[in-house]
Amino acid sequence: MNRSGTSGEAFHRGVLVRRGLALLAGAVFVYAGILKVRDPLQFALDVNNYHLVSWPIGVRLAFYLPWLEILAGLALIFYRAFSGALAITGALMLGFIGATIWAEAQGINVDCGCFGAAGSNLSFSWHLVLNLSILLVLLFLWFTRAKPDEITPARAASA
């Protein structure tokens, strides 16, 4: 690397900040995913608690979503299939926020299952703040991301 001068440093710092944020967001998704993967049946009940989808769909989602979260989280952490992972985690986050607000509006007790059992200590407003800030981070990463061509799906597969 032979970047020099302030603009180069600023650029470098920008990359570091983005990678740091991606690491953080990725870690949150991996953590949330692992908590749920450990007890998919409980998560299925949590999903069902929202009364958003029927049980047959909900139980299948309960087996699938946590793995998707882990995988997309890992992709964010290791900077593989990055744009795809951002799109997926962003969509998941929008879905979670929507579902949390829906549940609150319906007066459903939101032991939302978002963070497995650990989530039962979080209030609705904290959930929302946490989810929104993660969403903001994802949006920031999306709009400042490098061109997706830099990372090919073939490399992502090895992640």
Binding site: V37, P40, L41, A44, L45, N48, W55, P56, V59, R60, F63, Y64, W67, L68, I70, L71, A72, A75, A81, F82, S83, G84, A85, A87, I88, K147, P148, D149, I151, T152, P153, A156, A157
Partner: protein
């Protein structure tokens, strides 16, 4: 959206299926795939009214609470002493009876556990759980 982003999304969506299917196979017997495991047979008090004498009430609360008060005609059946009480219940049972299990309130789980065992171990059909439990019944029958 850029086509490579779409490719990445599809790749991640697809890859996530592999462990998910693996885990689903591992859990194939533990999970219920077509209906929720317990809440499927919740009935409201007004629904049970329509069943008249076909209802056979099953009290899943602890014995002390049953002794204090219970739905008239209800039989005690809890997991503290399952075998002996199940026998009494099966003596009163008939194919046309509808078993309605209740525990103390909406949040209790004993009624679900008892209903589940009646269905799966004794192989009984027409087993229901009263929504709201004993509190609901008492509230409507003061």
């Amino acid at each position: 959206m850029h086509s490579s982003v779409v490719r990445q999304i599809l790749l991640l969506l697809g890859l996530a299926f592999l462990p998910a299917i693996g885990q689903a196979v591992y859990y194939r017997n533990a999970a219920t795939w077509s209906a929720p495991p317990v809440d499927s047979a919740l009935v409201t008090l007004s629904e049970t009214k329509g069943w008249g004498d076909a209802v056979l009430w099953v009290d899943a609360r602890p014995e002390e609470e049953f002794a204090r008060a219970h739905v008239p005609g209800a039989l005690l059946l809890n997991e503290d002493d399952w075998d002996a009480r199940l026998r009494t219940l099966l003596t009163a049972w008939a194919p046309e009876r509808k078993l309605v299990v209740y525990c103390s309130a909406k949040s209790c789980s004993a009624s679900h556990a008892v209903a589940e065992r009646l269905r799966h171990e004794a192989g009984l059909e027409n087993v229901y759980v009263l929504e709201g439990g004993w509190e609901e019944w008492k509230g409507r029958n003061p």
